[in-house]
Amino acid sequence: MSRPTASRQRRAEAATAYAFLAPNVLVLALFVLLPLGWAVGLSFQRTDGFGAGRWIGFGNYLRLVGDPLFWRSTLNTVAFTVIVTPLSMALGLGAALLLNAALPARPVFRSVLIMPMAVSGVATALIGLLVFDQNNGILNGLLGAVGLPRIDWQSGGAAAFASVVLITLWWRVGFNMLIYLAGLQGLDPGLQEAALLDGAGWWQRLWYLTVPLLGPASFFLLIINVIYSFSVFDIVFVLTGGGPQNATSVLVTYAYDTAFVSRDQGYGAALGVVLLIISLVFTAVQWRTSRNRDQTG
C-alpha cells in the first residue's frame, strides 16, 4: 500500500472515530458543560433567576467562608462519605465473596441484593420514611413490640443521620457487590489453589491475594462511591430534608434550598461549584496516588 493511500485511510478512520464520539460529546456539551459554565457564571452574580443578575465578583464565595450552615453541611457531607464509602465497599465485598462461593439458591440471593438498585432514590427514601417514621414507623413498632425503647429517628440528630446511612447502605451495597462479583469471577483460581498449597489460611488468602487482585474494582468503586456520597441529594431530601436542626444537611440539599426555596440562585450556584471542585480534587488525588487503578488504556 502506498504512503498517500495509508495516510488517507488513517484520516478516514480518524474521521469515523470522531463521528462516533460526536453524539456523546454533543450531549455532554449540551447537558453538562454548558449548564456547568452557566452555573459558574451565576456563582459570580446576585440573582433570583428572573432578569439580569448583579455581578458581585467573588462575593458569594466570600459569603461561604462566614456561613455556619455551609460548614455544617460540608462536615456532614464529609462524614457521610467517610462512613458510607468504606461500609458499602466492605459489605459489598463480603456479599460478593459469599455469593461467589457454592451456596444454595445463589441466583435468588444475588437478585435480592441487586434489586434495590432498580429502585429510584426517591422511592428508596419513601420506603425509608415508612420504616423510620418515629411515630408510626415499622422499626419503632418492632422495637416497641419487643420491649425496647423507641428511637428518635426524626427528632434526634445522630439517629436521623444513622437512618440516612442505613437506607443508603441498603440501596448501594448491591451495586458494590455486583462490581466485586464481576472482579472475583475474573480472578485466576490457580492462584488461590497455589496459595492454599503453600499453607495460606482463608484470611491470608483474602487479605494478601484476593483484595490486592481486586484493586482495579476497588479503585473504581472508591471513586464512584465518593462522587455519589458527595452529591447525595434524593435520599436526604425526602427522608430528613436536612433536619433535624441541619444534622443531616449536606451540600447539595443546602444548595437546592438556597437556589430554589430561598431563590438565592447565585449563592446556590457557588455552593454547587465548591462541591464540584471538592469532588474533582479528591478524584485527581486518588488518580495520582492510587497504585490499584487499572493501568491499561
Binding site: 460526536a22 453524539p23 417514621d133 426524626q154 433535624p244
Partner: protein
C-alpha cells in the same frame, strides 16, 4: 452498491450524530405560551387534587361555551414540579398564559415583573367582588397582579373518642366561642395526662410549605411580621414574643410529636390519621380524604384566639404572565372563574373556601361533610386584610426560609425566645433587602 466495512462505519457514525440532533428538535419543548400559537387559545398550568382539577375542567368548559372560539389548554402537573417548571419557563421566556400560585409565593413573581398588571385590564370596582383580605393578597405596590381564586384556612380536626377519653366534651361550635390560648392549653394538658407517652394532644400543620401557618399565632396575638409599609420587620413585639413562647411550649410540654417541627419531612396530618394525635390543625381541603379513609368518628372546631381570632390566608390565586399573548382573553378567563357560580361549584366540590364577598357572607356547603362548612367559613372570616397583605410580600420566599430556620431552632434546638425574635427580625430585614 456493496456495503463495505468502512462505508457501514461511516454511515452508522453519521446516523449516530444525527439522532440526538433530531431528538433535540422535537418533543422536548416545555408547554408554554409559544406552544399555543392561536391567539384565542390560552395555556393554563396548575396542580390539583382530582376534585380541584374536575372543578377547573368544568370552569374551562363554561368559559369556552361563553366565549365562542376561545380555548383553554389545561396543563396539570404535580405540585412538586410546578414551580421549578414555571421558573424555568419564565426564565426561558416561554411561560404559560395563566398559572395557579399560592398567595405566599405570589409576591415572588409579582414583585419581579413576571406577572401582568391587571389594573388596566379589569373593570373598575372589580376588586369589590372579593373580601378585603382576598383582594389584599393579590396586590403588589398597590396594583392587582392576579385574582384570588379560593382560600383555605386552618381550623382544628379532632378525634371524638380521644377527646371524650380525656373528658373534653365542651368543644366550641361558634367562632366567638373559640378556645382562648389559655383554654386551649388546658385542653392540651388534659389530653397529655390521659394519653400514653407515644400519643400526643395535637399536631400543628406547619411542615413542608406550611411554616406561614405559624403566623396564625402571631395574628391571634394581634402582631405583625412586617411593618405597615411592608418594608421592614415588625416581629420584635410583645405579640411576637407571645407567639414564640406559646408555640415553644407545644414541644417542651410534649403537646405535639417531637418530629413535627417546621422542617419535618412528614406531615402531622398522618399522625392524626394514625390516631397518634387527638387533634390536628388542618385546612378544609383534607375533609374529602379524611372522610373517605378514616374509620373513627371526628369533627371540626375553630382555631384558638388570644387578643383576636386569626388564621392563615391559605389557598391560591390565578395570575396572567407578563408575556401572555392575549392578555384580554386571559383576563376574561380570570373574571369568569371568579364569578359566583363557577367559584361556588369549585369550592363546594373541592372543600375549599370562596374569596368572593357574597359567597363568604352567605357561606357555602361542601359536597362532603357539609355540616363542617360553617366552621371553616367562620374561621376564614377572622382573617384580616392587614394579615394577608403581609404574606403577599415579594420577599416572602426569603422570609419563609428565615421562619423555618429560627422556629426550628426554637422548637427543637432550645433557642430562647429572645434569640429567636432577634434572629427572626434580622433575618426578615435581610430578606427584605435582597
Amino acid at each position: 452498491m456493496p456495503l463495505t466495512r468502512r462505508r457501514f462505519l461511516t454511515g452508522a457514525a453519521a446516523t449516530a450524530t444525527a439522532l440526538p440532533l433530531a431528538a433535540a428538535g422535537c418533543g422536548f419543548a416545555p408547554a408554554g405560551s409559544k406552544a399555543a400559537a392561536n391567539p384565542d387559545t390560552l395555556t393554563f398550568t396548575t396542580w390539583g387534587t382530582d376534585a380541584e382539577l374536575a372543578g377547573f375542567r368544568a370552569a374551562i368548559a363554561g368559559f369556552e361555551k361563553a366565549n365562542s372560539g376561545a380555548k383553554v389548554n389545561l396543563n396539570a402537573v404535580p405540585y412538586e414540579q410546578m414551580f421549578t417548571d414555571i421558573d424555568a419557563q419564565l426564565q426561558t421566556g416561554n411561560p404559560p398564559d395563566v398559572f395557579r400560585v399560592p398567595y405566599y409565593t405570589f409576591g415572588a413573581y409579582a414583585g419581579r415583573g413576571q406577572l401582568l398588571d391587571l389594573s388596566s385590564q379589569l373593570p373598575s370596582g372589580f376588586g369589590d367582588r372579593f373580601t378585603p383580605a382576598a383582594w389584599a393578597a393579590v396586590q403588589n405596590s398597590g396594583k392587582p397582579y392576579g385574582v384570588p381564586h379560593h382560600t383555605d384556612t386552618s381550623a382544628i380536626l379532632y378525634n371524638t373518642a380521644l377527646m371524650k377519653g380525656a373528658g373534653i366534651t365542651d368543644i366550641p361550635t361558634k367562632a366567638e366561642d373559640a378556645w382562648t390560648w389559655d383554654e386551649f392549653t388546658a385542653v392540651a394538658r388534659k389530653l397529655r395526662s390521659s394519653l400514653p407517652a407515644t400519643k400526643f394532644p395535637f399536631g400543628y400543620n406547619w411542615q413542608g410549605n406550611g411554616v406561614t401557618r405559624w403566623l396564625n399565632l402571631l395574628f391571634q396575638a394581634d402582631g405583625r411580621f412586617l411593618d405597615e409599609q411592608l418594608s421592614g420587620p415588625a416581629i420584635n413585639s410583645d405579640a411576637g414574643r407571645a407567639a414564640v413562647e406559646f408555640s415553644k411550649d407545644f414541644f417542651t410540654q410534649k403537646f405535639v410529636p417531637p418530629n413535627s417541627s417546621v422542617k419535618a419531612t412528614t406531615y402531622v396530618a398522618d399522625s392524626w390519621y394514625a390516631q397518634t394525635t387527638a387533634m390536628v390543625f388542618s385546612g378544609a381541603f383534607a375533609i374529602p380524604d379524611a372522610t373517605e379513609n378514616l374509620k373513627f368518628e371526628w369533627g371540626a372546631t375553630y382555631a384558638p384566639r388570644k387578643v383576636r381570632g386569626g388564621g392563615d390566608f391559605g389557598g391560591n390565586a390565578l395570575v396572567v404572565t407578563a408575556k401572555a399573548k392575549n392578555p384580554k382573553l386571559a383576563t376574561a378567563f380570570l373574571d369568569f372563574v371568579t364569578q359566583a357560580d363557577p367559584m361556588r361549584t369549585f369550592c363546594a366540590g373541592a372543600s375549599l373556601l370562596p374569596t368572593r364577598r357574597d359567597l363568604s357572607a352567605d357561606g357555602i356547603e361542601f359536597k362532603i361533610r357539609p355540616e363542617l362548612s360553617p366552621v371553616f367559613v367562620g374561621q376564614s372570616r377572622v382573617v384580616r386584610a392587614t394579615d394577608s397583605a403581609q404574606v403577599a410580600s415579594p420577599s416572602m420566599s426569603g422570609i419563609i426560609t428565615v421562619l423555618k430556620d429560627q422556629l426550628d431552632k426554637a422548637f427543637v434546638g432550645g433557642q430562647s425566645t429572645a434569640a429567636t425574635i432577634s434572629g427572626l427580625s434580622s433575618g426578615i430585614a435581610q430578606a427584605l433587602q435582597k
